[in-house]
């Protein structure tokens, strides 16, 4: 498959999202471009980071109004794309990996059938070929004893394994854009590193762009090449290194995390009035 333009996979310019009759913007004037890179989006709950991810996939409920000057993905304008076109893109060209594999996998389908279904749908394979592709992909995500695992149901596997299955399913069609929404926050710390490494490996191999959405600013900083910090729906800072953070919100978030190397008696809490003041000034 020829790569159209590796410098920009996704272009977002002045994206706004608000829900129903609310005048409050869940996403407020967000602009960024994404190449074949790892971009992190961090912020607290309610900062609009997940809504941003879903707006790009156009997975928000009908009550949400999405407006943007530009929302372009690999040459297609997502703003004008019909639901039918979006269905073709989703899973095929763009994929979303969600937080908890226990809820995002189908509980009544075996792992094998589930991954094979993705192969049938997105690669247009027949039953036997799809099953084979699924087995190959599960092996790629380092699932031991693929044959046995394919017969299991989601409740019979661990969280880390479930997330690997999700990744296998989502990356089967080699999408150009992968949005991972808190992919590791339901997992144990010891599995977290492996899942991130795996995600990076597959995304780099396909030369695609990855958006990692998380509240864990330290993890994002270690894993991503670029970080967008969101607060109240707006991108308040665009960082390459966490140490360069200038905005009081970003600094507050970093300081609020306990760090064993710099023990403090009391943790610093966010000074919201001064953050809001800084927001008004900028």
């Amino acid at each position: 498959m020829p790569v159209p333009d590796s410098t920009s996979i996704l272009t977002v310019r002045n994206l706004n999202v608000n829900f129903a009759r609310s005048t409050l913007k869940a996403v407020d004037g967000v602009s960024f471009t994404l190449g074949a890179e790892r971009l992190g989006i961090v912020g607290e709950s309610g900062s609009g980071k997940s809504t941003l991810g879903r707006a790009i996939m156009k997975l928000l409920p009908n009550s949400a109004k999405i407006e943007a000057e530009a929302l372009e993905f690999a040459g297609t304008s997502l703003g004008e794309a019909s639901e039918k076109q979006m269905r073709k893109l989703r899973g095929n060209e763009m994929a979303l990996i969600m937080q908890d594999p226990r809820y995002s996998l189908n509980p009544v389908l075996s792992i094998g059938n589930q991954v094979a279904e993705a192969a049938k749908l997105h690669l247009g394979l027949g039953k036997a070929a799809a099953y084979k592709a699924a087995a190959g992909m599960l092996e790629r995500v380092r699932i031991a004893d693929v044959e046995r695992t394919m017969r299991l149901y989601p409740h019979q596997i661990s969280g880390g394994m479930g997330q690997r299955v999700m990744i296998a399913m989502m990356l089967l069609a080699k999408p150009r854009l992968v949005i991972a929404d808190e992919p590791t926050s339901a997992l144990d710390v010891s599995v977290r590193g492996d899942v991130l490494k795996l995600l990076d490996e597959l995304v780099t191999e396909n030369n695609s762009g990855l958006i990692l959405i998380s509240h864990d600013i330290r993890m994002v900083a270690a894993f991503c090449q670029r970080i967008l910090v969101m607060y109240k729906g707006r991108v308040v800072e665009n960082l390459v290194r966490l140490e360069d953070a200038q905005h009081p919100y970003t600094r507050g978030l970093v300081a609020a995390m306990p760090n064993p190397r710099h023990p403090v008696r009391r943790l610093q809490v966010l000074d919201r009035p001064s953050i809001d003041a800084a927001e008004v000034r900028s």
Partner: protein, 245 residues
């Protein structure tokens, strides 16, 4: 304050018997804060639930405040230790007002109606008195966890058992709740047992930490070890490495 000897807990029967906690022994001094860290399923919460008296099929010996406690506890023994759970959304009755949430344990322990203790309980955790009238869904996650802490403290326990008290919260809110817990411990000389999978939280809060794996403690770390990242077992070294990417 707490002494545990050869605590064993198993679930299931016959061929399905699963030994979750395997003969662990430890003690916690008065006013100390002990951390237990480990992955899901290692048995850390089960240890805590046995201490609280929620799980009753343990074997071994547990003594609280130099008094050996049985599987069925007297009210005095139950009053010694109170627990704060992980999920503030799940641990508070959704149809009870906050005042009832806070008064109920007092009544259950036959210490009176409990309604008179509500204002002080709220004040102690830094919530306005008006919150007594509210329902849990009218509170944020951090406020709800404060209510859960207030509920535990309303019985004036000497021991607070904390099961992942901040893992459902944002880092910014986590900082507030951890500060509150540190302040309360200083003011009231409480003894903490804190269970978490997050080593940085344990290192911040605890004087001593036990690393648990497959039902046994594989390592013990003191404050200096935690700060320097010094470990004495292979497993805890791996845990340290993956916790601080």
């Amino acid at each position: 304050m707490i002494e545990v000897e050869n605590l064993e807990v198993a679930f299931g029967k016959g061929g399905n018997l699963k030994q979750v906690v395997k003969a662990v022994s430890f003690s916690v001094a008065r006013g100390e804060s002990l951390g237990i860290v480990g992955e899901s399923g290692c048995g850390k919460s089960t240890v805590l639930r046995s201490l609280a008296g929620l799980d009753r099929h343990w074997t071994g010996r547990i003594s609280l405040n130099r008094q050996s406690v049985d599987k069925n506890r007297t009210i005095e023994q139950l009053l010694l230790a109170q627990m704060v759970f992980q999920d503030p959304y799940g641990s508070i009755h959704p149809r009870h007002r906050i005042e009832r949430v806070l008064a109920e344990p007092v009544r259950a322990m036959k210490k009176g109606g409990g309604w008179d203790r509500v204002p002080k309980a709220l004040e102690r955790v830094g919530l306005p008195a008006g919150f007594a009238e509210r329902f849990p869904h009218e509170l944020s996650g951090g406020q709800r966890q404060r209510v859960a802490i207030a509920r535990a403290l309303v019985l004036e326990p000497q021991i607070l058992l904390l099961d992942e008290p901040t893992s459902a919260l944002d880092v910014s809110v986590q900082a507030e709740v951890l500060n509150l817990l540190s302040d309360l411990r200083e003011q009231q000389g409480l003894t903490y047992v804190l269970v978490s999978h997050d080593l940085s939280v344990i290192a911040h809060m605890c004087d001593r930490a036990l690393v648990m794996k497959d039902g046994v403690f594989v390592d013990e770390l003191d404050r200096a070890d935690l700060q320097a990242g010094r470990t004495h077992a292979e497993y805890s070294a791996v845990l340290f490495q993956s916790s601080f990417l």
